[in-house]
């Protein structure tokens, strides 16, 4: 399933505050895009606007060429997989039941989960190395374990588009690569993947493109080799950036304080 996603002159915000202004960018099928920027730059708001959670004040989000606002709710829910940032379970729930919630757009109002639903749940738990946690309560998990279960919930709905807010937060190095591999597989299967991160090594090694957001506007966007550069990164984060070419033409980034100590 190929499912391109695009923002056109998109503006979004909360109350009187406009967080995102004039964002235009295509997120084509088959590519992984990393969203980078300081705290409050608009990364999460962009993901929410793309997911249809925060309505567009101006401009349009297009999914497969159609405006997202005109796509039936259920159809959009099947196509888009959104991972929220941070999650505190309010009620006891074990991992397998939580991951099954990802199948909501595919299920009827009543009735037990189908064999297809169960297979998708088990596959997603396995892919996130969370099979052993299936019967564990979310409240009894470490932050990283919980994060993998939440990711499995997104993968279980088998969406064509992945919108992930800090998917590698709290993860150890091995599981970070596990998540990057999962994103890559979805892109290779024709999906569009957009994720936010503060980890530049993750962006450099896992993404095809990067989008640099500053004050709710696009500072730069394009292939990582063109966007993860010393001038752009030092302007974006107001720190010193050192970029050297690494394996496969991917940049190696290290950051330091703006003024050397």
């Amino acid at each position: 399933m190929t499912m391109p996603l695009a923002a056109e002159a998109l503006a979004a915000g909360y109350g009187v505050r406009e967080v995102l202004t004039d964002v235009t960018r295509a997120f084509p099928a088959g590519r992984v895009t990393a969203l980078l920027g300081e705290n409050g730059a608009g990364k999460s708001t962009l993901l929410k606007a793309l997911a249809g959670i925060v309505p567009a004040r101006r401009g349009t989000v297009r999914l497969g060429g159609r405006p997202l606002s005109e796509i039936p709710r259920r159809e959009a829910a099947r196509a888009l997989g959104y991972l929220q940032q941070g999650f505190e379970p309010l009620f006891p729930i074990v991992a397998r039941e939580l991951v099954l919630l990802g199948r909501t757009p595919w299920r009827t109002a009543f009735g037990a989960p189908s064999a297809r639903d169960r297979a998708a749940v088990e596959a997603a738990l396995g892919e996130m190395d969370a099979g052993a946690l299936a019967e564990t309560d979310l409240g009894a998990m470490s932050g990283g374990e919980r994060q993998r279960v939440l990711l499995a919930r997104v993968l279980a709905s088998e969406p064509g588009v992945l919108l992930l807010d800090e998917p590698t937060a709290n993860l150890d190095p091995r599981h970070r690569f596990l998540v990057l591999d999962a994103m890559r597989r979805r892109a290779e299967a024709g999906g569009a993947v957009v994720f936010s991160t503060h980890e530049l090594d993750i962006a450099a090694s896992g993404a095809d493109d990067a989008m640099l957001l500053s004050g709710g506007r696009v500072l730069a966007a394009g292939p990582v080799a063109d966007t993860l550069t010393e001038p752009l990164l030092s302007a974006l984060f107001r720190v010193a950036a050192c970029v050297t070419p690494g394996a496969n033409g991917r940049p190696l980034v290290s950051l330091g304080p703006a003024r050397p100590r």
Partner: protein
């Protein structure tokens, strides 16, 4: 899945306990009856006094306890799911208080009848309606305080509910100072929670409201499940979050209001029962159905205790649910994984 099977097991167990509790509540009271006499009386045989005690007094009262307990627990389960807050319950959110004000105003206006009197089915249906109007008024004020840009904010809803609950208590006290002394006494006893107003008409009316509430809530079970992940994520799963919240709020108010109209303000059922049930299932369909059964068991047992512990004197059933509920709730709180 295993949790599904265990939900069925729990359902069967609770139904069995409910059956036993119902039987016990027919046996117990100011006059203890033998099981054989009770069965004969249910069939209409035996001496007239026993038949009257069983069929006119104890059976309606036991069935009313089933419905009131079930309705309160359902209401609490729905409010907790809708607010994403394990502390929510109809009492705390001002719904019960609003319903009590509505009932009191309705009674003062001569609608239906005050607790204990026999009325036809229309009279029986009218009192819960007055309660529902009172509950709706409370809910509207709570919602007004909690809406931000046309959406109900979960955090503010709880705060707003606590304030309206306090306001409703004040209005109740205000209204009570109007009636004559003997009437006020009746009202106060009703307000503290009592099933002594049970009549076949009340049972019939309350079952109509309970079925209606259940019919509104059960289709929302999937939405409640998704709301476990938060409102934003639930929306991305295709849930109409605002519609679900409004319908659930309405249904929860209707259930609590109908219960209050017949049994006054009984605390802890709406808070405790869904809490306990969440220990065995996270599926909201099972949670709603098991909460109904659990609430019914709790109230049937509490009312049997209220009638027989210090017979012939009768204790307020609200006092029993609180006496049982407070330690049970603290135990659940301490033992949370």
């Amino acid at each position: 899945m295993s949790s599904r099977r265990s939900a069925w097991t729990w359902g069967a167990a609770l139904a069995a306990v409910l059956g036993a509790a119902l039987l016990a509540s027919l046996l117990l009271g100011s006059i203890s009856l033998a099981p054989g006499d009770v069965f004969r009386a249910l069939a209409g045989a035996g001496d007239a006094q026993t038949v009257s005690i069983v069929r006119d007094l104890r059976l309606p009262r036991a069935l009313l306890a089933v419905l009131v307990g079930g309705a309160l627990a359902l209401s609490g389960a729905a409010l907790q799911a809708l607010l994403g807050n394990p502390l929510a319950d109809p009492y705390l959110l001002g719904v019960s208080g609003g319903a009590a004000c509505g009932t009191l105003v309705g009674s003062l206006l001569g609608l239906g009848a005050s607790a204990g009197a026999r009325t036809g089915i229309f009279g029986a249906l009218a009192l819960p309606l007055a309660a529902f109007l009172g509950a709706l008024a409370a809910v509207l004020v709570v919602g007004l305080g909690a809406s931000v840009g046309g959406r109900l904010d979960r955090g503010r809803l709880l705060l707003s509910g606590v304030v309206v609950n306090a306001l409703a208590s004040a209005v109740l006290l205000f209204l009570l100072s109007f009636g004559d002394a003997s009437r006020s006494r009746t009202f106060v006893f009703w307000m503290l929670g009592s099933l002594s107003g049970a009549t076949p008409g009340a049972v019939l009316a309350l079952s109509v409201y309970t079925v209606l509430g259940l019919a509104l809530l059960l289709p929302l079970a999937r939405a409640f499940d998704a709301l476990t992940l938060g409102e934003e994520t639930a929306a991305t799963l295709g849930i109409r979050v605002e519609t679900a919240k409004r319908t659930a709020y309405l249904a929860a108010s209707l259930l609590a209001a109908a219960a209050v109209a017949y049994a006054g303000i009984i605390g802890f059922v709406g808070l405790l029962v869904p809490h306990a049930v969440r220990r065995v299932t996270s599926s909201h369909r099972a949670l709603l159905l098991l909460s109904f059964l659990g609430g019914a068991v709790l109230l049937v047992v509490s009312d049997a205790a209220a009638r027989s512990l210090f017979a012939p004197a009768e204790i307020s059933v609200g006092a029993i649910t609180a006496l049982l509920g407070a330690p049970a709730f603290l135990f659940l709180l301490r033992s949370r994984p």
